[in-house]
């Protein structure tokens, strides 16, 4: 049952591994890998952007938009871009442990193909894909015993769209087992570290999209996709100085993703900044005949345009006047975090077009977003029942929440769905009637409702002996209003530079020190308490 470290080895390094990925390396990345009813995503135009000197000096520093700009100007090639990231993987992956598998051979082949014929807005861009997305011909385990050895016959819609847009998969991102908590082995041994504190694995890197976050923060991939059921995109983004967008339910397809909770699972990017998050989401978004949740929805707005800052007379302004709701608990808790939030609010308030208003929660907010969060557990039990019957040990350290789902009756699950309806009206007719965007103190309420969330960095604060660990914040909006979130994020990032900061490389002594320390291990109870 032990998965060992073989899935994290650099697959390109051995002939046997190369043979194992032969299908992926000899068949071009095309929609041929997609599900039978694959529908191409919408056309996406990536604008030219000013490329920072740091990105010119080191390709792995570049944002996605900067990398596209450099490729378009032929200032670099897809091969150079991919090789730069693979070199960092070779150097630092033993410390970061961001990947469940690295598909180096396939990435190199795809880069050469992209250099021969550049096609698609993401042509040549190295991407990390969370390991719960189906990848044709590449083992997809959701980092679990349950799916050990599972090789999907097709790509998840999201993966197929990224590849069809020219994106190059450099590896499968490590994750909390079955998308539960921070990335660990299925038995609970911590794997992936926060890229900002590689010497200290006790610092939370965020989960369950831990590997995608660490890969982008550590510059092992240019961008990434994760999934979110209970904060798993915006959480790791906040922890690792990234910008994560959890779209509205249905905006992006979740076909071909190993489920955690049907009504709560979302797919979206963990990216370097708001523009990158918009570009990735624009590629992912739109109807998918394989996922009825994506059909019959409002048209996808121009997300890329929404993520471009607007200036009037040289001053950054909001694209549209926007009222930003501040809930009563936003300025409570850790003093350092509160100070950063105050500065964040002051910065927002100084941007023309932004208006801050205090909002209050409905009386039953705590109950309906707290205890009622457990309602989702039945949804994770049902699709996994055959595996539970086969052997509950397959679930390793994550077992408890799968069993808890059996102990909510059908009528209680129905009550939970009624509570969702009640909460939706309280949010849309109440809180969001007084503002366009609502600051969040946790991701769960809008995950329950399927409303969009944007996580973005707002500074750094000390954690334990670590003087500077990223701090982020989360904004939420009404259904299918990702563009509103991006507009606010674009303006904020145009007047701040937190999103441009990158962690220092792990030093060899730090790596050695870490390997000498006892790795943390999560207990089943800790996993159940923190599970998405």
């Amino acid at each position: 049952m032990s998965r060992g470290l073989n899935r994290r080895v650099f697959l390109a390094g051995s002939a046997a591994a190369a043979a194992g990925t032969v299908a992926a390396t000899t068949i071009p990345w095309t929609a041929a890998h997609a599900a039978p009813a694959f529908q191409q995503g919408r056309p996406v135009d990536v604008p030219d952007v000013d490329v920072r000197p740091a990105a010119r000096a080191d390709l792995t520093e570049a944002t996605l938009a900067e990398a596209v700009t450099l490729l378009r100007r032929r200032a670099t090639s897809a091969t150079e871009l991919v090789e730069a990231h693979l070199a960092r993987i070779a150097a630092f992956e033993p410390t970061y442990q961001a990947f469940n598998a690295v598909t180096a051979d396939a990435a190199r082949a795809a880069a050469k193909a992209a250099d021969r014929r550049r096609s698609g807005p993401l042509a040549g861009i190295p991407l990390c894909i969370k390991d719960n997305y189906f990848t044709a011909g590449v083992e997809t385990t959701a980092n679990s015993f349950v799916f050990e050895g599972f090789v999907p016959p097709y790509d998840a819609t999201a993966v197929a769209r990224l590849k069809a847009a020219g994106g190059i998969v450099v590896g499968k991102g490590q994750m909390g087992p079955l998308a539960t908590t921070r990335a660990t082995q299925p038995n609970g041994m911590v794997t992936t570290v926060n890229a900002w504190t590689p010497q200290d694995p006790s610092v939370d890197p965020g989960g369950s999209s831990t590997g995608p976050a660490t890969a982008v923060a550590g510059r092992l991939a240019c961008s990434s996709i994760g999934t979110q059921t209970g904060g798993s995109i915006v959480g790791p983004s906040n922890q690792q100085n990234l910008t994560g967008l959890k779209p509205t339910m249905g905006r992006t397809s979740i076909y071909g993703i190993i489920p955690l909770s049907y009504t709560r699972d979302h797919s979206g990017p963990l990216a370097r900044d708001v523009l990158d998050a918009a570009i990735m989401t624009a590629v992912l978004a739109g109807p998918d005949p394989n996922d009825p949740r994506t059909l019959g929805l409002p048209a996808v707005p121009d997300l890329v345009a929404a993520a471009l800052p607007v200036r009037k007379k040289g001053k950054v302004v909001l694209r549209r006047s926007t009222t930003i709701g501040v809930p009563p608990d936003y300025l409570t808790g850790n003093a350092a975090v509160v100070a950063l939030r105050r500065t964040f609010l002051d910065t927002l308030a100084a941007i023309p077009g932004a208006k801050l208003v205090d909002v209050t929660y409905p009386a039953d907010w705590g109950l309906l977003t707290g205890t009622f969060n457990a309602i989702r557990l039945s949804e994770r039990t049902e699709p996994f029942l055959p595996y539970l019957k086969q052997d509950p040990k397959l679930f390793g350290v994550s077992l408890l929440s799968w069993l808890q789902g059996l102990f909510l009756s059908g009528d209680e699950w129905i009550t939970g769905q009624r509570a969702k309806h009640h909460l939706l009206r309280e949010v849309l007719d109440g809180v969001l009637s007084r503002c366009d965007v609502l600051l969040q103190t946790g991701p769960v309420p809008f995950d329950i409702l399927g409303l969009p969330e944007l996580g973005l960095p707002i500074g750094f604060a000390p954690v334990g002996a670590n003087p500077a660990v990223p701090v982020g914040t989360i904004l939420g909006a009404g259904p299918y209003e990702e563009d509103r979130l991006l507009e606010v994020g674009a303006a904020y990032q145009a007047v701040t530079d937190w999103h441009t900061r990158r962690p220092a490389d792990p030093a060899p002594p730090a790596a050695a020190a870490r390997s000498a320390t006892v790795k943390p291990r999560l207990t089943p109870e800790e996993v159940a308490a923190t599970t998405a």
Binding site: M1, S2, N187, G188, M189, M249, G250, Y262, T263, R293, L297, P298, D364, L367, L368, T371, F372, A374, I375, L385, L388, K389, D391, P392, K393, F395, G396, V397, L399, L403, Q404, L406, F407, L408, E412, I414, T415, G416, Q417, R418, A419, K420, H421, H422, L423, L424, R425, L428, D436, I448, L449, G450, L451, G478, P479, Y480, E481, P524, E525, A528
Partner: protein, 97 residues
């Protein structure tokens, strides 16, 4: 006298848990009696303890909520929505904010 989970003994809850697992076809005895570092799976004792806590806290809290204190009128309120945001779109309410 109102009944509730707190009136149940540990033995009764344990019996219910093992029976519920069996009804779904899950063999409680496949779980280890002692810690198993290789899989990290919880022991039988840990499973029983966790599920007892869950049973004591969650179902009763869910069952204690209704959209209205009036039982008859409450039936007419808040029909169940699996996908609240999608329902907003499918009912034409999601556009034009």
């Amino acid at each position: 006298m109102a009944v509730g989970p707190s009136s149940l003994s540990t033995e009764q809850l344990n019996a219910f848990i093992v029976a519920r697992l069996a009804i779904s076809g899950i063999d409680f005895n496949l779980l280890p009696a002692d810690p198993d570092p290789a899989t990290g799976v919880p022991t039988q004792t840990q499973v029983l303890s966790s599920l007892r806590s869950f049973l004591l806290a969650n179902p009763a809290a869910v069952n204690g909520w209704r959209p209205s204190a009036d039982a008859a009128l409450g039936q007419q309120l808040a029909p169940p929505l699996e996908y609240p945001s999608i329902t907003e779109a499918w009912t034409g309410k999601a556009d034009g904010r």
